[in-house]
Point group: C2
Chain length 231, copies 2
DNA sequence: TATTTAAGTGTATAAATTACATTTATTAAA
DNA sequence: TTTAATAAATGTAATTTATACACTTAAATA
């Protein structure tokens, strides 16, 4: 069995668009680049693919290295291959998007001078990272309407209000509280816990969790998650 | 400016999932592999990325080489990187899906022993190509509901019946003719031509074309294509 | 026990989707 | 020239889904 000896080889990288949700805000985790070119400028967290790992593994490694987190929601998006996208050397990069629950006091590796930015206040980024982020935001908007990923941005137990805020900030519009709750309840994929969050009001609000088992059973049964057109 | 000299490099390939529509049938174009390993088995059309091209250019090149066609609808899907996906040598492959109008007597380069297969009658494929195809079919199903790509599988002028057939075969369900036409007309992105196709009936049926200019204007104006839930 | 705060709840209207059957244009055969 | 055959073209009522909208409840604190 011969090798493909005649063919060109390429540097392959992953770049992570890391989204977090904090109170009312959709945020993105960026790092400050500490080498030339573009030293001191903001960038996505990335890393080169290594010989003995898959792209998913590389993305998980990079993410873990920066945040210490494992089992984060991580999805491959697009592969960027413009000839001049990295001025140092031709590099093809695969973007991944990650959803993180920020409330659990995520610790960030200080080696990277990383910082969370509100989506609307993020600085310009190096290379084609601006494009990657804007593609990822489009995808997030689309995804949240067709997959139950809103929960990934919240702690395991969350209030309806928090979930509504996630949807509002991603969709970029205010939603009606009653309609939102009716719609979510109609999906029938949450478990209401007999436990209240009292941090926001005297009455306290009930907590919910995503019922992944039920969700999967429903999907196997032909159900498709759809969350659209809720004002 | 230093190079990334320490990093591993990889073979990068593109593999094309080429869909065509013929009368009532969604088809896929496969080639017969003529070298080891897996010689004689069916495969997607693919090729290695070259030093001086982007992935999109590589996919277009591969597609053009096989079909002679240019300006085909082509979209990047996913990048596959499992360590053992190609037994010859580690290769990372980016899948592309293409939509082709088959009725215009597409000529296929005979060097590749290529053949059109009905989606339901396609043979097992080499490597992870089965996975690529099934991912592409899911994506096609999803895409046809959210983007005006049904037209890409038809000649420039088409009848409502043909368009309905495209939707039916992709969605895998029968649609009601009146509801289908009402829905499509409500989208208001087709031009009715004063010209009939007489191949299928004595009365003949009017031909339509996709009004791309109008569509783009509507999108710029906030319109989003949605074709869902039509029985 | 009164006040304050956010949580929790229901319904009527509007819009979208679905189910469904007859008429029309044309050609070929009688 | 009339008739028969074929697929194209067309509209509406019933149902489902989405939207707009405001008051009551639970609990803590003053």
């Amino acid at each position: 069995m011969e090798n493909y000896t005649e063919q060109d080889k390429f540097l392959l990288a992953v770049d992570c668009i890391i989204f977090g949700f904090d109170k009312q805000d959709l945020k993105i985790l960026l790092i400050k680049r500490d080498f030339e070119p573009e030293k001191g400028n903001w960038s996505l967290m990335g890393g080169f693919l290594k010989k003995n790992e898959s792209l998913d593994e590389a993305a998980n490694r990079v993410l873990h290295h920066l945040t210490g987190l494992e089992n984060v929601y991580l999805e491959q998006l697009q592969t960027y291959s413009a000839l001049d996208r990295d001025p140092v050397e031709r590099t093809v990069s695969v973007s991944y998007f990650a959803l993180i629950n920020l409330t659990e006091k995520t610790k960030i590796n200080e080696d990277f001078s990383a910082k969370w930015f509100s989506i609307n206040e993020a600085p310009p980024l190096i290379f084609d990272h601006n494009q990657m982020v804007s593609d990822a935001i489009s995808w997030l908007r689309h995804s949240v309407a067709t997959k139950p990923i809103g929960f990934e941005l919240l702690p395991e137990k969350f209030t309806m209000k928090q979930l509504q805020s996630v949807y509002e900030v991603i969709l970029g519009e205010e939603l009606d509280k009653r309609n939102f709750i009716n719609k979510i309840n109609a999906l029938d994929i949450l478990i209401k816990i007999e436990e209240k969050d009292r941090s926001s009001s005297r009455k306290g609000s009930f907590l919910y969790t995503f019922d992944e088992v039920k969700y999967k059973a429903k999907v196997a049964d032909g159900f498709t998650f759809k969350f659209m057109g809720v004002k």
